[in-house]
Symmetry: C2
Subunit: 202 residues, 2 copies
DNA sequence: GGGTGCATGTAATGGGTTACATGATTCT
DNA sequence: AGAATCATGTAACCCATTACATGCACCC
C-alpha cells in the first residue's frame, strides 16, 4: 500500500544532500561545484539535478528559499533539513555496490584489435594516454589548491584520499598504455620481417 | 527523410558483432562467453542482447538459423554477414569516447566520510580491497588459461593487453585502498588523543 | 555584436538492469 | 527433491545526457 515514488531516490539525490553539507546553494551552484571538486569520479547534469531537488524538497529533505536580485534570474537556494542530514548519514553507511566495473569501449575495441590495422589500436591508446597524463597534472594542481585553501579543514584528508585514487588510477593507466604501445610495436616487428624476408637486400 | 531507427545501434550491437567473429553462436552463448572473456570490462544482459540481435538481423548484419533439438529449447544461432563484418571494422576504427570516467559511489561516500564514523569508511575500503585482491587472482588464472589454450592465436596479444589493463587497475586499487586505510588509522590516532588528553592517566 | 556567465527548468532520447514468463533436462 | 543449465524473450523501471526554451548583464 505504501506509496513508493522512488523516482529520484537514487544516489544523485544523496550526492546533492552531501553537497549541501558544505553550505547552502542552488542547483546551478551544485553543478559547478561538482565540476570543481568531485568531477573526477562524479558528474551530474541539470537534467538530473533540478528534478532531484524538486523531489528532495517535496520529501522534506531540503528547504527552498528563493532569492530575487534585479538584473539576475531568481536563485533557488537550498538548505539541508535535519531529516535530510539523517538520510545522508544513513546512505553513507550503506556499503556501496561491490562491482563498480564499468564498461570500457576502448578495451572492447582493443580486444578485437586484430580486425583492424595496428595503427588504429595505437592511436586509441595514444588518446587514452594523453587523457590520463593531462589528468595527472590536473590532480597535482587540485591537490596544491586544496592544501592551500582548505588547510586545517577536517574534511581535507577525505578529499585527498579521493584525489589520490584518481592519481593511482591515472598512473596505472599511463603505465599500461605505454606498455601496450610497446607491445603493439613488437607485434609489428615480428610480423613485418616475415614479409621482408624474401626480397629487400639492396 | 532517412529513417533513423537508431534504437539498438549503440556499442552493444557492435560488441555482439565482435563476438560473432569468434564463431557462430546464440544469444545465450554470448552472455556466457562475455562473462568468461571480457567480463572484467564489459557486461551485457539478456534484456540488451536479444533485442539487439533482432535489430542486427533486421538490418542484415547477422543471419539467424534455428536449431531444433529434442528435449531442449530451440537455439537461434547467429552468423556474421559480410555487411556485419564491415560494420564492425568501421566501428572499431572510430576513436572511443574520451572521458570514460565512471561514477564511483565508493569515492562519493568516502568524500563525505567525515559525517560518519571512521570505521564505516574503513569497511567500505576493506570490501573494495577484497574485491580487487580477488580480481587479481582471477586475472592470473585467466591469463594462464589463455596462454595454455590459445597458444599461437594471433588475437592472443590483444586479449592479454586487456587483461593487463585489469591487472594494472586492480593493483592500483589495492595499493590505494591499503594506503587509505593506513591514513584513516592515522586520523584516528591524531584525533583520539585529544579526547583522552584530560583524563585517562590511570 | 558576440561570447560567457548567471539561472531554471522540461522533453526527447538513449541505454541499461531486473523481474517476469515458460519449461525440459541433468546433476547433486 | 531441488538446484543448475539450457534457452528465449518482453515489460517495467531507472538512470542519465542532450537539446530546447528563455533572457538579462557584462566584457571584449
Amino acid at each position: 500500500m505504501k506509496s513508493k515514488k522512488t523516482q529520484h531516490a537514487g544516489s544523485t539525490a544523496n550526492a546533492l544532500l552531501g553537497l549541501l553539507t558544505l553550505g547552502d546553494m542552488s542547483g546551478y551552484d551544485m553543478r559547478s561545484l561538482i565540476d570543481r571538486s568531485i568531477g573526477h569520479f562524479w558528474t551530474e547534469s541539470y537534467g538530473q539535478i533540478y528534478p532531484s531537488l524538486k523531489w528532495l524538497s517535496s520529501e522534506g529533505f531540503v528547504e527552498k528559499k528563493t532569492e530575487r536580485k534585479k538584473g539576475r534570474p531568481d536563485r533557488n537556494v537550498f538548505t539541508l533539513t535535519p531529516a535530510g542530514r539523517k538520510r545522508l548519514k544513513q546512505w553513507l553507511a550503506v556499503p556501496p555496490v561491490v562491482p563498480e566495473i564499468p564498461r570500457s569501449e576502448l578495451l572492447l575495441k582493443l580486444f578485437f584489435g586484430l580486425h583492424v590495422p595496428q595503427k588504429v589500436s595505437r592511436s586509441h591508446l595514444a588518446s587514452f594516454l594523453q587523457f590520463h597524463e593531462d589528468a595527472l597534472t590536473r590532480y597535482t594542481e587540485l591537490e596544491a589548491k586544496l592544501q592551500r585553501e582548505e588547510t586545517g579543514d577536517p574534511q581535507l584528508p577525505y578529499w585527498l584520499m579521493t584525489l589520490s585514487f584518481g592519481r593511482h588510477r591515472s598512473e596505472a593507466s599511463v603505465n599500461w598504455a605505454k606498455q601496450s604501445m610497446v607491445r603493439l610495436d613488437d607485434l609489428e616487428k615480428n610480423q613485418g620481417p616475415r614479409k621482408r624476408v624474401v626480397g629487400r637486400k639492396k
